[in-house]
């Protein structure tokens, strides 16, 4: 059916164009190129088809359900029971019903099947007749002076608009789902306890029977987010300690010192780092760097956890290097050559020029790239889940294990979860706070970058 409509679309395109050529051959000037006539007809074919299909998809199940259940009305069934009967009917008609088969339901299933087939064939007939009618109408309508270009352009604009709308609506939807669950969570757990509590132990909320379920005292000292926020920022801090100096210096090297040839090869090579899946970084951190640090630490008489914040943060830093180096390379390169010339002409050396002219000029852009790196570090999940441990310790010792917001969300949501359970909702609350933090960072970063752009215009 779908293939057929696509074929029809192509056919109407062909007819539209042919008609345009015919008009052209009678020495009349067209208002648009011939293919616009084709597109115009194809659109007249696609839009009605799309509308009918979507209407059908919305109303068909409801109508069929009404028809089936009309047999059962006046028999004193409750709504829930009726729903159940309908589900049973559907299952039976697909041959997936395993329970006891009553003649009633069998009859309904047969009726269901026949209704469905009627619906299918009537849908086909209606769609086809409407498409043909609309195409024929449009075909008759087009003549040498009919406008086809504008509707086609408008249609394209509408399609593009819908696409971007879809992306935005998804974001809005995500935010709303976070908001409602978060509000539910804070109905049980006071906001104060969440923001300032220093004990994070969601497993405790699981050890209970149903009688305790709504007892708020049960949850005190359970969902204090301070340790995992601290852990998140701590690991991000370690990551940035690695990423900023190395990324910045390699960015400066690439932009200012590297010859064209070196830059040509070195930049993609550094960017390969950005292409490594984070799960690979994760087991690199957990299985290679972590044990290695532990061994070194032990040989120096330090007590190093195999899952240390240092290992996770360090590897995360390596992951972020390409971001910072690539972005800062870009902003440094975009500092106008005239500023470099001005500085060299004053007798400044290369390093003086970089330090005193180029770096300050590029600083806003560099800060922007660093902030983007930070928000990436805070949102990073795989590495911390694998390498930094899941126990939410409140510690500033990089050799101990800590946990982060993302890792805790993973811990909470792995396996089966009950909706409406504070433990599950805690994940939403964490997700919401994470979203807010990275959102703020991104906004600040974009602002800074934008300010920088205006400077040289």
């Amino acid at each position: 059916m779908f293939t057929f409509i696509v074929l029809l679309g192509f056919t109407s395109y062909y007819f539209g164009r042919r008609k345009a050529y015919t008009i052209q051959s009678t020495n009349k000037r067209l208002t648009a190129l011939p293919q616009f006539y084709g597109y115009y007809l194809a659109i007249w074919c696609a839009i009605p088809a799309f509308i009918i299909f979507s209407l059908w998809a919305i109303f068909e199940p409801t109508i069929v359900k009404l028809l089936i259940l009309s047999d059962y009305s006046n028999q004193g069934y409750l709504d829930d029971e009726l729903n159940l009967i309908y589900e049973k009917t559907k299952a039976l008609s697909r041959g997936q019903f395993t329970g006891e088969i009553t003649p009633f339901i069998e009859a309904s299933a047969e009726k269901y099947l026949s209704l469905r087939s009627i619906a299918q064939s009537s849908k086909a007939v209606i769609v086809l007749s409407i498409i043909i009618a609309s195409v024929a109408y449009a075909y008759k309508k087009i003549s040498s002076n009919s406008r086809t270009r504008e509707p086609v352009e408008k249609f394209l604009k509408a399609v593009l608009f819908t696409a971007s709308l879809a992306a935005i609506l998804t974001t809005v939807g995500i935010v709303f789902s976070l908001i409602f669950q978060t509000i539910d969570f804070f109905k049980v757990i006071p906001l104060f306890d969440f923001v300032f509590g220093t004990h994070w132990y969601p497993a405790k909320a699981f050890v209970r029977d149903s009688s305790e379920a709504l007892d708020p005292t049960m949850y005190s000292d359970t969902f204090g987010a301070v340790p995992i926020f601290a852990g998140t920022f701590f690991i991000a801090f370690i990551a940035m300690c690695v990423a900023i100096p190395i990324g910045l210096m390699s960015g400066i090297y690439l932009a200012e010192y590297a010859s064209v040839k070196v830059r040509q090869y070195a930049k993609p090579l550094i960017e390969i780092l950005a292409g490594i899946p984070t799960v690979v970084y994760g087991f690199f951190a957990a299985l290679t760097v972590g044990p290695f640090l532990k061994e070194i630490g032990n040989s120096m008489g330090l007590d190093v956890s195999a899952e240390s914040a240092l290992a996770a943060g360090g590897v995360m830093g390596i992951m972020i290097i390409p971001f910072i180096s690539s972005l800062s390379d870009d902003v440094i390169t975009s500092v106008p050559q005239s500023l470099r010339d001005g500085s060299y002409a004053m007798g400044a050396t290369k390093s003086e020029t970089i330090k005193k002219v180029i770096f300050p000029a590029a600083l806003p852009g560099i800060v922007g790239s660093i902030l983007l790196g930070v928000s990436r570090a805070i949102g990073e999940t795989m590495i911390v889940v694998m390498a930094s441990g899941l126990a939410a310790n409140l510690t500033l010792n990089p050799l101990e294990s800590t946990s982060t917001i993302t890792a805790q969300i993973v811990v909470i949501l792995i396996g089966d979860q009950a909706f409406g359970d504070p433990k599950t909702q805690a994940a939403f609350a964490l997700g919401m706070s994470l979203f807010l933090v990275t959102l703020c960072l991104n906004i600040v970063a974009l602002r800074v970058v934008k300010k920088y752009r205006e400077k040289y215009e």
Binding site: L339, D341, G342, A345, M346, G347, K356, P360, A361
Partner: protein, 258 residues
């Protein structure tokens, strides 16, 4: 400035060839620049006059593929010699560019940049003085004295160019190279800069590349005419403009080509 009626030669260039990669941009240039005079370099676009100017403070070093051959002697010293210290050379030979290029710093910092690099001021007071004199010499002091700590990029185009001139003279260079310094400016700002050039030649030797023959005639005492990488003719501005020896010079001056 004349000493006993003999003109002092500040820069003496001998057989200068410049190559960009395999392409030769300048052919055997021999040009003497007189001290405390304004020398204008004229010629059609792409004739090599800017390239020659950039040879004089070795700014061509910045361009990877550029090679310079021949001798350029300033103060009895060949600046193309390996022993030449580029930092010291550029301290002595300042440069002003086509487009005003103040650093994205304050007006004060723009001027103090050079003196800081070359360690010319021992104290804040000395630096203040250098900034003030440089700005005064560049005829900008009155306009900016109340906002020295505002960004230099906020000035108008003509002011920015005078700021760049002030920046160049802050290190007391002997020679100032100007690469079409007025091409991005309006006539009023141009007139101000030209007046300034006349002032500056008391203390500095000035070489100016310009596309405007009227400007060359107005500001310079000597003129060199470049065409296709060759120095066609050079001599006093009067002579070049009124009585050129070469046919090409005559054609260019009278606007028949270029």
């Amino acid at each position: 400035m004349k000493k006993n009626g003999v003109k002092m030669i500040k820069i003496n260039s001998k057989n200068v060839d410049v190559f960009y990669g395999k392409k030769q941009a300048l052919f055997n240039i021999n040009l003497d620049i007189e001290e405390n005079q304004v020398t204008a370099l004229i010629g059609p676009s792409g004739c090599g006059k800017s390239t020659f100017l950039r040879c004089l403070n070795r700014m061509n070093d910045v361009i990877d593929i550029c090679r310079v051959k021949g001798q350029i002697i300033i103060n009895d010293f060949d600046i193309n010699d390996k022993s030449c210290d580029v930092v010291r050379l550029r301290e002595k030979i300042g440069m002003v560019f086509q487009k005003p290029n103040p650093f994205p710093k304050t007006i004060y910092e723009n001027i103090s940049y050079g003196p800081t690099i070359h360690g010319m001021a021992q104290s804040k007071n000395e630096m203040d003085e250098i900034v003030e004199t440089s700005l005064k010499k560049a005829a900008l002091w009155e306009e900016v004295k109340d906002r020295l700590h505002e960004p230099g990029t906020g000035l108008s185009g003509g002011q920015q160019q005078r700021l760049c001139i002030a920046r160049a003279i802050s290190v007391k260079p002997e020679v100032i190279l100007m690469d079409e310094p007025c091409s991005a400016l309006d006539p009023i700002a141009t007139a101000q800069i030209e007046e300034l050039i006349d002032e500056l030649k008391k203390d500095h030797t000035i070489i100016i590349v310009t596309h405007s023959m009227a400007q060359a005639a107005r500001v310079s005492q000597n003129t060199g005419f470049f065409h296709l990488g060759e120095l066609i003719e050079h001599g006093s501005t009067d002579k070049i403009f009124k009585n050129p020896e070469n046919k090409k010079t005559q054609d260019y001056i009278t606007g028949r080509f270029g």
